[in-house]
């Protein structure tokens, strides 16, 4: 445990039993999040990034591995965790439409965490107003119902609810993927401003790489439940190492020629993410990899550190 790390994940695994077999949604990933930073988790749909967040938060009980929060191990699912821990970790979900109870007013929604944790007693209303102002919503919203406000505004309410108990860590599970572009910018800016004001740590999950560039301080690339590359955000975009990272970066749409030049050599992305029930042997990425070698289909590469803070899991660097 390094000083200043708020969350440490070690060899985290989460398997689901299904009719088709065992799905290894998260299969042995390790990373850490420093205090006040944003750790970005990127991957295609089905790569296990949301499952990672849900397992850290305790919605799912981990199959294996360990999670440390502020140096203390987190044991089991959300029902077994102490109340004080729930005050300190919060989550914002992907779909703002379903994350607010349609039968409750915004006031009831935002005051729920205050009541559960017995915070701001007698001043709940003032705190709720303060939270709405913090996320940039008018105070009149308190008496409205979720159906009367827009998708982006719902997400801001969900953020206000997550902030109510003054947590130090928030998991953001694709907080903007369901919204239109103008609203995305507003929400991202709000999140960044609040992070600075309150010194929050974020686990930011998205499939949008260009968003990562603006938001995250470090980025991890996930593929089929495994982390393939972890790097500081700047290095990640300038010096990607893993062929999968290169493939993702080269498929980001750009507008100007200068931007085009910044991108790695065009790698045509081929194939689709295989079913997590039937994971390819060796390196899970080898069937789609443009630089696939013989060893790739036989042996799984190990995670190695190329530069301080930049690790990659690929046979190209394993020799």
């Amino acid at each position: 445990m390094v000083e200043g790390e708020i969350l440490v994940v070690e060899d985290l695994r989460k398997y689901f039993k299904t009719a088709q077999g065992v799905v290894r949604a998260v299969d042995g990933i390790s990373f850490s999040i420093k205090e006040g930073e944003t750790f970005g988790l990127v991957g295609e749909s089905g790569s296990g990034k949301s499952t990672t967040a849900f397992t850290i938060m305790g919605v799912y009980e981990p199959t294996g591995g360990r999670i440390f929060f502020k140096g203390k191990p987190l044991i089991g699912g959300v029902k077994k965790r102490p109340l004080s821990l729930k005050k300190d970790m919060q989550m914002v979900f992907q779909d703002p439409g379903s994350s607010l109870n349609p039968r409750k007013s915004i006031r009831e929604i935002i005051e729920l965490p205050l009541k559960v944790h017995k915070l701001y007693r007698g001043k709940e209303r003032k705190r709720a107003e303060e939270l709405l102002r913090m996320v940039g919503l008018p105070v009149e919203f308190l008496d409205r119902y979720p159906r009367a406000i827009g998708g982006g505004e719902k997400q801001l309410v969900a953020i206000a609810r997550a902030l109510a108990t003054e947590p130090s860590f928030i998991a953001l599970d694709e907080p903007t993927s369901a919204l239109d572009v103008s609203m995305q910018a507003k929400i991202i800016n709000t999140l960044l401003r609040i992070q600075e004001e309150l010194n929050l740590s974020y686990l930011f999950i998205t499939h949008n790489l260009s968003l990562m560039r603006n938001v995250a301080s470090r980025v991890g690339i996930m593929y089929l439940g495994k982390l393939l590359e972890v790097a500081p955000a700047s290095e990640f975009f300038h010096k990607p190492l893993h062929p999968y990272t290169k493939m993702l970066l080269s498929s980001v749409p750009v507008i100007t020629e200068e931007e085009e030049k910044l991108k790695p050599k065009k790698i045509v992305s081929r194939g689709e993410i295989p079913s997590p029930v039937n994971v390819p042997p060796g390196c899970t990425f080898h069937p789609r990899c443009p630089e696939c070698m013989e060893v790739c289909s036989k042996k799984e590469p190990v995670m190695i550190e190329i530069e301080p803070g930049h690790t990659v899991k690929c046979h190209l660097f394993n020799s």
């Binding site: 005050k87 970790m89 379903s98 349609p102 409750k104």
Partner: protein, 294 residues
């Protein structure tokens, strides 16, 4: 503060108006509503509006016995000279009271069990509650009711108990399936992550979102509960003479078919109209809520 209050009530008025408009576009719903309102009115005010209020009980007037429908007795009289129209009005009273009592027992208990089982989906609590529910559903309901009523002394109260015993599993099944899907919504997970206790999550987060389908089913069920109650009293296991329940009026009258047809036909028609009215109303409410949900 005051302006918000008046704004809200206007909002509610507006939504009420919109809902009424949606509801009234289907003429059948209106027919159902009018039927139900008429029946309820007759049930509540029967002692005052019945043309012959003394007909409800042990009243004998052989001078008026077994008269066919006429202006004086629009539905005729029975063999004791009691006015059948008056007795039908009182019959609505008993049948509606029975339906309300049964639903008041069945809906909260069934919903509660289904809610708990659905919230603890996949655990032993779920298994125990839902297997018991399945057992009750596996027994043909009328057979069970007949058995219970035959075992106990036949009376309105006992028949109500019997019907309740076979009706709750439907509500527990409905609440179970609703809860099982709603518990996966993000707002329930959010409440769990916040640390709200299970009772709060079940009753304040999940239950309010189950109410409209349950309410619809209740409206539809009033008719069916009356039918099964009438069936029980028809075979002599429900309300007993001289209590004017619609079922036993049909039963008593059927002995004099076809000569004194009015003794059977009018109470039977009353049952049919009651069930039809509640079903049409229930369908209308269901359509209304289904649209609102989206």
């Amino acid at each position: 503060m005051k302006s918000i209050g008046s704004l809200l009530s206007e909002d509610q008025r507006e939504s009420l108006k919109r809902n009424w408009h949606k509801f009234s576009t289907n003429p059948l719903s209106i027919v159902g509503l009018i039927t139900v309102l008429t029946i309820t009115f007759m049930a509540i005010f029967s002692p005052w509006i019945a043309p012959y209020p003394q007909s409800w009980g042990r009243w004998i007037d052989f001078s008026q016995a077994s008269l066919p429908p006429s202006w004086k007795h629009p539905c005729g009289t029975d063999i004791y000279g009691r006015d059948i129209l008056s007795r039908i009005m009182f019959g609505f009273r008993y049948d509606l009271l029975m339906a309300v009592c049964i639903l008041a027992m069945v809906v909260p208990s069934g919903t509660f069990l289904g809610l708990v089982a659905g919230y603890y989906h996949g655990t032993w609590i779920d298994t125990v509650i839902m297997r018991i529910t399945d057992i009750f559903l596996a027994i043909p309901s009328l057979v069970l009711a007949l058995a219970i009523c035959a075992l106990l002394e036949p009376s309105l109260f006992n028949s109500m108990m019997a019907v309740s015993l076979l009706w709750w599993p439907w509500y527990s099944r409905l609440a179970y399936s609703l809860t099982s899907s709603i518990r996966n919504e993000y707002f329930v997970q959010a409440a769990e992550l916040i640390g709200a206790n299970p009772l709060y999550i079940m009753f304040r987060e999940i239950l309010p979102n189950c109410l409209s389908p349950i309410f619809t089913k209740m409206t539809l069920d009033v008719g069916w509960v009356i039918l099964i109650g009438s069936t029980l009293s028809f075979v002599g296991l429900g309300a007993q003479e001289p209590m004017p329940a619609l079922g036993n009026m049909v039963a008593v009258g059927s002995k004099y078919m076809p000569d004194y047809w009015w003794m059977t036909i009018f109470p039977a028609l009353a049952i049919a109209f009651t069930i039809l009215g509640f079903n049409l109303l229930g369908d209308g409410i269901r359509d209304l809520l289904a649209v609102e949900e989206i």
